[in-house]
Symmetry: none
Subunit: 291 residues, 3 copies
């Protein structure tokens, strides 16, 4: 039964496991008895000895309970979800991705995107891979270390990929978001990422893209019967230039302002919401996802 010599070291007794997880010993035993959550070794005297990894398992159990799952389900999941597959870290892939784009090597960049998407969630790929890369590229350009050609080349590759992920994003029955940049604003990749992320959470998306006149936006929103309009700009001036139109739009529709150009004072003045976080954060918040 005990079998296994158990090479390793750290074994916890039930009191210590309880202290580390905040779960009472009685309950730990109940979980073991009822759901087989843990399978501790025993001392010759019968005391339970838990391997250190069981701390994680108990915490997973708590997490699932907190999300509202039944105890039986929570235990089942906590037992099965041991290994985090841990592909090579995303930062390594992003480094390669940067190199490929810097060298105008489109096929390599595409292959790296494939690998990122295969190993990580969409949120991670965008939030820790693609978007930071774009941000950094913009800064490098500001410092004269990257050419506009490089930025355009990279943008085109990424835009193609995002639009590919977006195909069909107008279908379904979720809430509808209309996405656009104000007149003069051409940087739309962050907004595009937001759209894809909202889609991943079940929303419908209608994408109008860069440099969209406000009259036409209001009209389109009305004709689609939308629930929600997002305006995004890197430059605050671009948003301020249409402040009045935002005010009137916000009277009929829920409006949110995003991108570096969206400030809280502007949001206050116009009656719009402010999306101050990254697309990943804001998509999560908007979709009310507990995650």
């Amino acid at each position: 039964m005990y079998a296994v010599p158990m090479a390793s070291g750290d074994l916890l007794r039930i009191g210590e496991l309880s202290r580390r997880t905040g779960v009472k010993p009685d309950l730990l035993r109940a979980w073991e008895r009822r759901y087989g959550l843990l399978e501790p070794q025993r001392t010759s005297g019968g005391f339970r000895l838990y391997p250190h990894r069981d701390v994680g398992r108990v915490e997973a159990m708590q997490g699932h309970l907190a999300r509202g799952l039944s105890a039986a389900e929570a235990a089942r999941l906590a037992k099965q979800s041991e290994p985090a597959p841990v592909a090579s870290s995303i930062t390594a892939l992003v480094d390669d991705f940067r190199s490929a784009l810097d060298a105008y090597d489109e096929p390599a960049a595409q292959a790296l995107l494939d690998r990122m998407l295969a190993s990580f969630t969409l949120e991670t790929v965008l939030g820790e891979g693609v978007l930071p890369y774009l941000h950094e590229l913009g800064e490098r350009w500001g410092r004269g270390e990257a050419s506009i050609a490089q930025e355009h080349f990279a943008s085109s590759v990424i835009r193609g990929r995002l639009l590919g992920l977006a195909r069909g994003w107008g279908s379904g029955s979720g809430p509808l978001a209309v996405l656009a940049c104000p007149p003069g604003e051409e940087h739309d990749l962050g907004l595009l990422a937001l759209g894809v992320l909202l889609r991943a959470r079940g929303w419908r998306v209608a994408y109008l893209g860069p440099d969209t006149p406000m009259e036409t936006l209001a009209d389109a929103a009305q004709r689609m019967g939308t629930d929600f309009v997002v305006l995004s700009a890197l430059s605050e001036a671009r948003l301020e230039a249409v402040e009045d139109e935002i005010v009137s739009l916000a009277q009929n529709t829920r409006v949110a302002l995003g991108g570096a150009g969206a400030t809280s004072s502007l949001a206050d003045r116009t009656g719009a919401e402010l999306l101050s976080g990254s697309p990943v954060e804001e998509a999560e918040r908007l979709a009310g996802a507990p995650r």
Copy 2:
């Protein structure tokens, strides 16, 4: 794919049909009784259930009434003017495609693109479907018949699809073309189509897209060791503004000018080639396609 022409679809009860058409339930029942305008199914309990298409029929009825016809006549016309059900030629598909985009119906537009691409060659789909549609949309906008929102929405759908077809277009060993629009020029879909068509003929493509500064273009072309640069603009002024740079670029590299803004005199003055035909024609010519 998303498929299916949607045999059935949603069935509306009389209240909802009334809400969508603005015609009171009593009147809808009267039109049914008196003129047989509609022939709804019934629930087991006797409630009327209208197929979605009846919305259109009621709207047609309203239109005829507004033009002064008698109710009997209006109903007769509304009943007979059902749209042709089957679309098989590319023009029919393009008609549907236009309708879908006009209605901001992205999934339907995607499904139609699927059908076009499944039934016709890329050259046909672009040359007789997508590009003429874009051209027409531009003209409708010029006449105030289409909004910019519609143009942006359609552009985004089409751009996503073209970039999808373009994925991996940098790989292989064919001749390399660098594609860009001059500074200030934002209309790049024709150029994108050219790139996809060149790719279909075995070329490699590096795409820099709209609003590309000339210095950076020259630099990128050199670093990639390109054989060929294409500059495209709808506005002649945008090309003339960089005439000198084109001249110097053309001394080291083969350069072609395309789009409505490319004129033979400009080509003559700069030493560049002129792409006077459509992307389909020019791709065929450039790739020396035997047909």
Copy 3:
């Protein structure tokens, strides 16, 4: 729709489903009783257990209700509608693809191919989706776990798609490859995949397909002035049967042997090259991919 197997996944009790959708438990039960909207499993004690996907179904129901449909209609649509096409990883898509083909669900399989191709590169879709599936299907058939009908069904779906991707692959100016299977060999999907991948790298391809007499092949190669002939077979015997013809063909042209039936000793004896890797690897190698 795709749904199906899905052994695991987290299961929600009615309270949690209610919390996530905002629909009261009573109403969820009523929808189940009256319209069969959901079909939850039960615990041994009789509690309902909903798969996670039911959240989407309930949300679809809510969406349709909000649009004014009757509850009965809303439920009907919510039941039939696809789960929201959420961008997900290639492995998830491949799993669904496998399930769809196993269930003889051709539209679902096509839709999944669409989504894979929209979101990933051709190399990834073939190399990690379609080809492994075919391989596995062959093995299952060998163990008697899959029927011939299943294999035929899957083959025809995939062949149709590959041929669609292949359209126009003879045009352009890249190197020309002639692809064929030797007499008696009917398994050509791997070869077809190789052709599509070579095409994606700019080659021209002439595809003669399964069961091609060697005289025909030699004649075609000569008349097209080809650079390269690929012969592929799963069975080594099929290639050995035409060993002499391969020898003479290889004296005039570059010849490569692929498929499980191609062995290095045969390649040595005939003077042909050996393609020992997967179609993806070999296409990359042959086309001298930059990588």
